[in-house]
Symmetry: D3
Subunit: 190 residues, 6 copies
Amino acid sequence: MWVYEKKLEYPVRITKPDVQMAKYLITQYGGPDGELSASLRYLNQRYSMPTNRAKGILTDIGTEELAHMEIVATMVYQLIKDAPIEVLKEAGLGGHYAQHDRALFWVDANGVPWSAKYIAALGDPVADLHEDMAAEQKARATYENLINLTDDPGVIDALRFLREREVVHFQRFGETLVHVQEYMNSKKVF
Amino acid sequence: MWVYEKKLEYPVRITKPDVQMAKYLITQYGGPDGELSASLRYLNQRYSMPTNRAKGILTDIGTEELAHMEIVATMVYQLIKDAPIEVLKEAGLGGHYAQHDRALFWVDANGVPWSAKYIAALGDPVADLHEDMAAEQKARATYENLINLTDDPGVIDALRFLREREVVHFQRFGETLVHVQEYMNSKKVF
Amino acid sequence: MWVYEKKLEYPVRITKPDVQMAKYLITQYGGPDGELSASLRYLNQRYSMPTNRAKGILTDIGTEELAHMEIVATMVYQLIKDAPIEVLKEAGLGGHYAQHDRALFWVDANGVPWSAKYIAALGDPVADLHEDMAAEQKARATYENLINLTDDPGVIDALRFLREREVVHFQRFGETLVHVQEYMNSKKVF
Amino acid sequence: MWVYEKKLEYPVRITKPDVQMAKYLITQYGGPDGELSASLRYLNQRYSMPTNRAKGILTDIGTEELAHMEIVATMVYQLIKDAPIEVLKEAGLGGHYAQHDRALFWVDANGVPWSAKYIAALGDPVADLHEDMAAEQKARATYENLINLTDDPGVIDALRFLREREVVHFQRFGETLVHVQEYMNSKKVF
Amino acid sequence: MWVYEKKLEYPVRITKPDVQMAKYLITQYGGPDGELSASLRYLNQRYSMPTNRAKGILTDIGTEELAHMEIVATMVYQLIKDAPIEVLKEAGLGGHYAQHDRALFWVDANGVPWSAKYIAALGDPVADLHEDMAAEQKARATYENLINLTDDPGVIDALRFLREREVVHFQRFGETLVHVQEYMNSKKVF
Amino acid sequence: MWVYEKKLEYPVRITKPDVQMAKYLITQYGGPDGELSASLRYLNQRYSMPTNRAKGILTDIGTEELAHMEIVATMVYQLIKDAPIEVLKEAGLGGHYAQHDRALFWVDANGVPWSAKYIAALGDPVADLHEDMAAEQKARATYENLINLTDDPGVIDALRFLREREVVHFQRFGETLVHVQEYMNSKKVF
């Protein structure tokens, strides 16, 4: 189970509303390679991992991705929450306003709702860890695109933090893959 | 952010494998009215709630639904993890085995992947709280169906706990609706 | 069965084309909380309602929502049918033109096709009527957003009518819920 | 607008429950080539048809398909409504029961929810009428498969009626295509 | 099996980048009536065709549609590959950039991912060939819309070629329908 | 463009019909980690690869996956094409028969239609190649599950061939990743 702690893993300091950026950034909330995809992928896969260490790593990272999801949500909401209707229309978010007002929703940057088809679980630890390493690379690339789409220093600062964490997770999944392969080889021997 | 605590909100005591029940139960993991739907619905809506009290209740319940999701996951995995392939085939889970081995996945009882189309956020607190009350009623009804589908006392015991929590959440959302409506009326007056 | 009567339930008087508004308004035709969702939800649920009165109310309202769907369709088509291609492009409807010319389609304001995942039927009359009350609240909120997105008096007039009907339906579903709960309690007693 | 008349276009006489058949038959309610697809396809396309005659035919047939949808719904519900849980489980409808009890839902025979992706509207009358003719052929073929899947005379009788209507609609769409092409040619001349 | 030949079926000569047009054109790559839909529809249906001639025609046309898919891909990529981020944003492709940089993806003009729900296979040759004829009409209409959306002579030239091929395929499917119906009638006689 | 060669890349020798296996095997035709996913993933990504060598490898493997798709299609069709209706019903393919007779369709083992949401293209060669390596691992694991689901030597023989090819592709994508990273580093230096 999880205990909520009323603070963000990393502080968000948005200096000005930017509806256009909110439209793009929401992909890391409800898009294919966003934080929801990451968290649900890892928390789901952990059950079929063969060692407690691997289960623990997936639980840890899956939980941290929940925190990242909250950081992204906070950013998107701050960028959009006070925007006049005309500004939303100009940024291509008139449709979002019609359907959700200024609320968040689990959609990508084009308004396509999140689907579990974005993620995978094979029950094969080697396949699943490759899926996870690929996921971290895709999230990293998406954060780099998002950094290119804005010049707000507060947004960039948080995106850089999130991008860095994906790089760290990629490395941890790589180590876990080695660990799992060693474990599976050792089982075959004895 | 969330801190993971390595225990279940409610203990799961499955006395025997039951693949058929796993196939049905998974709907409360990745189906339309399951715990993922509940958690993502509330954690997403909280940003646009008008008072801290309403935000807090949605955060609390959304966090508890994460714990329920973990209870359901644990049950499904215990029911399925040691099943021989032939048993999976007989229970209509041969397709699940082909695609996921015995791993969990975010699907309903027919194998349809979870979609954010199942949930809503209007940004209108009255509409959103009605959506939440309806969600709790739908989850309650689903748990009642699931209780009818099994005779394993351990499964029934956990399902009754989860059903009870939905009834409590329904009441809390009802109270929150009254609170929010009072708040909105008071704002109109002053 | 249904008999078609060649008139709109409420007259539509669009004074000028407005492609931008058509793009938003289409969500009440083919979006998550639109008239198609409403009609298909009620006409589907009626079979498992426990009394003839409840069945009749769902049939009546489901049939009226078909009429509302036609009102929205008429409005969208009038707003868009004579628009030059350049105007469609500027309003973000170039993609719609590529795929549908100026025809209607069952999509939301972002072009996402309608899905039955938007609606529910639990076969539990209490859960289903809460779903219906929530649906009316969500439709009401969407109409309010749409009213804010236009200043055409003819569009606003029709939207206000449609919004009012959702409020009336919400009340009728509330009364039906009381009726159904009384019926179910009476059955338990005798 | 539509007026509901409390009778079926064709009487349904189910002589015995048959849950297995209900599972298959539901595809003509909420599956790709079913009556919902048909009705929504025609009622949507009528707006962009170039003549009143073509608009009228699409309205007529679209309205009749609503009646067919009701016939199929009535059949499915009669086949399933009194079935014990064990019978539902054996017929592969345990998942349906978990999620919907014995209520209807807009799904295909595998439980996949209906999507507007099944249908099309190009706004080009020639393309749209070919789409409609193909739709009638696909519905006809599906009814033939369904007839092969049952030996209940009451079910077969209604399915034959529905199959016949698709053949008639196919012919009417063929005539409408000729009419529309003549109209379009005549417009080019003058 | 297929052998790749490193040339396009028809040369693509794009004279200038046009991100806006890329956004629309991508519907013929990954949209409902595009070349992927066409190719997968025919290559899938060929197995259940009753004669070798019909199987051969579906294989031929399905293979040619793969080549058309490549032509469209080449055009879209040339129109978009060197575009500055600001130009992508202005054309409504900021969301595409966030998620895919300037890579291609199987989406329609609104960013909705391709789904097999767009196509059909009934296993009934008459129904399937009507589906194919309708598909060619829908593709033709889409190419006509796309031609209206651009004034680049190189783009128009390739689109005209692709449009022409759809007309030819429509005729070939019509002939195949006659052939299949004759074959089926002859089988009934003897 | 592609030239069709009328032979399978690997011969298929099915010794007996096996409808149950067809139901599972179809996931490698139209399921999340099947051959369609593989082919469309690689053929789409090649455009944004930075070197001709990388483009060539993606084209080669993407083309070979088309051939694998054809092998799987041939197997599924041979396993199912002569099956009596009762056998289809017993194997859980009664729904497939209702909707598709014995034709193939792009679905997973539960009848869920293929979606481009299963695959990714980031336009970042490192991320895309990790996605491809993960895809090969997931396909390998699926083939291993399928081998466990049958005892037909002809089916197993073809599945082993397909599994082997995924291992080879995994290695080739690994080499391509090294090549691409060296290329990108060299560009930074000079």
